[in-house]
């Protein structure tokens, strides 16, 4: 249990900067997920907290102590690696107990603690096996056990679930969440999988190209993405984004020439600006093509998700996703109409990608950027 402060932290390899000044305050006991595409610097940031990567500039403090100059072992963090990094020449029990052995815990106590960790992770039958003789999920649990046994102040996870199959991944997600509730250690979890981020996080940090794009609860990040990048990255399907211009009458004109109505005050505020208009698939409605005010499109294909369906439509040559409700029957090639509620529209700057306006319905913390 320890708060972590990251103050203007930068990282560069030689002259190539990979992390450009990150500021974060992580509260004690919080579960933070850093989400971003590969190469965005999220793992580098995590490894700087762990002490595996030197901090080029700025400061990281764990529990009030600046750790820039401390060795990994002095920082009180435990880490779960993507490929588990189990010691192949040691048994499961030796793997889990290695940290205790290094710190000189007597053998009897060590064994007792290894057994209790193994019990919590249902690893007891495998304690004498080598990692080679374990399945992926079991290896994953050994890696967790190795991190747990030290009762660390901070847990770091570097994409620990990405090598597991879909079913196991969901089970392990629940297990990690349960573990966090029980141990209460501050956790930082790095992933490129937004479902993981959504289900695990107290707060999500979305990173792109070495910068933090947005910090917020999963709901905030989903409903009020603060930049064009976040809007296009979070959510499945991602938000529909159309680039265009707000005309003098206050309507959005996208590049193919059709108008989409904006609410009057937005239209006035951004008249003449080049903007990107964003609509979530579930905020758009499917109507018959003849409905007045509907945008005409063609159904391209229908994504069957079991509980719901998404129509991927061709909208003047642009892809546009609409969530389907009820029993509408559609086949590829059908003419459809799309209704967009002016209140559900997000606007982003076409030049910088910064958020200009978010739906008015929910109180938003990320309108201004």
């Amino acid at each position: 249990m320890a708060p972590i402060s990251i103050r203007n932290v930068k990282k560069s390899y030689g002259k190539t900067p990979v992390v450009h000044g990150v500021d974060l305050e992580i509260r004690s006991g919080e579960f933070i997920v850093i989400l971003g595409p590969s190469g965005c610097g999220k793992s580098t940031l995590l490894r700087m907290v762990a002490g595996l990567e030197e901090i080029s500039d700025g400061e990281i403090a764990i529990d009030g102590t600046v750790v820039n100059r401390l060795e990994p072992r002095q920082r009180g963090c435990a880490m779960v690696f993507q490929n588990y990094a189990l010691y192949p020449h040691m048994t499961v029990a030796e793997n889990i107990g290695y940290a205790l052995k290094v710190s000189g815990v007597p053998k009897a106590e060590r064994r007792q603690r290894v057994e209790s960790v193994a019990k919590a992770l249902s690893l007891e039958p495998f304690l004498d096996r080598r990692p080679m003789a374990l399945s992926g999920g079991q290896r994953q649990r050994v890696a967790m056990g190795r991190a747990m046994i030290r009762e660390p102040k901070v847990f770091l996870f570097d994409e620990p679930l990405s090598n597991l199959d879909a079913k196991l991944r969901i089970a392990m997600r629940a297990e990690i969440r349960r573990l966090h509730r029980r141990l209460g250690a501050t956790s930082i979890f790095v992933t490129h999988d937004q479902n993981e981020a959504m289900t695990l996080a107290d707060r999500i940090i979305v990173m792109n190209a070495g910068k933090v794009e947005q910090v917020g609860t999963p709901e905030e990040v989903y409903h009020f993405p603060s930049s064009r990048f976040v809007a296009g990255f979070v959510g499945s399907p991602a938000m529909n984004l159309l680039e265009g211009r707000v005309n003098e009458e206050g309507a959005f004109v996208y590049d193919q020439g059709r108008n989409i109505a904006l609410s009057p005050e937005r239209g006035r505020a951004f008249a003449g600006h080049r903007v990107v208009l964003g609509v979530r698939a579930e905020a758009a409605r499917l109507v018959s093509p003849e409905t007045p005010g509907a945008l005409p499109a063609t159904a391209d294909f229908i994504e069957e998700l079991g509980a719901s369906r998404v129509v991927h439509a061709d909208f003047d040559g642009l892809p546009f996703a609409v969530a389907l409700t009820g029993n509408v029957r559609l086949k590829p090639g059908d003419r459809i109409g799309i209704m967009i509620d002016p209140d559900a529209i997000h606007l982003y700057s076409a030049d910088t990608g910064a958020g200009l306006a978010a739906p008015a319905r929910m109180p938003s913390k990320s309108v201004d950027a």
Partner: protein
Amino acid sequence: MEKRVTFSSTTVGLLFALPMLLLIFVFFYWPSAQAVYWAFTLEQPWGGGNAWVGFDNFRQLLSDPVYWGAISRSLVFALSSTAIAMGMALILALLTDREMRGHKIYRSVFIWPYAIAAPALGLAFRFILAPEAGLLSIINQVWPGLWNPALDGKDAMIAVIVAFSWKYIGYNFIFFLSALQGIPRSLTEAAAMDGSGPLRRIFDMQLPLLTPTLFFLLVINITESFQDSFGIVDVMTQGGPARATELMVYKIYFDGFKGLDYSGAAAQSIILMLLVILLTIFQFRFIERRVHYK
């Protein structure tokens, strides 16, 4: 699709293999068979007939304390040169692995000694270790007569061991370094997160994970030290002083070509061959099975 070329008739295949088979036969099987034959006969020094004597040659050798001396010297030589060559190589590789700047240069530079022919190497070390003018002559300046491989058998043995080890340090280094680099970085990092410092990581992670390489090099080094030592001994000491550096392989040459005792030399080479085979089998049977983790 079958990528191999297959021949419909066995004859064509055999014809293709024939040049190589011929080489192997002429330079390997024939001399070996000849040696085995000679070992059981008494050959005349100038040729012209021999007599079958059974195991007499072996009986005579094994009851000769001089021969037993050569065996024990060979063992001392093999064990110490292997220990030095592998130990030094391991230390160098561990240091290089930690700070990898310029590792490509080390890699190629350290393999060069292995490419030097043993006699050239022996000659170089003869100069380096010469008591009157070499690097170690400084010692003699302070304590006159302390270092003299031409007179002191122990010094001579040290000299050949050093020369031989020097040749194999580079060879071993290459293997150790590539094995060390084959250890996943995340393992080292995980150990660091577990609180293990650099020195502790060497003993807990790197060395255990290096054991397959350690074993392989142990076999190679010991085998080679029995066979590859001839050139160095011949150039540096000729087995002297007073047989102090007369190793098994050198004694074969000396008895056979200087003493013209072909039969005795042939018997010795059979014994050396058996010894190397036995050592290798022993190492594979008792060590190898403990070193793999898969």
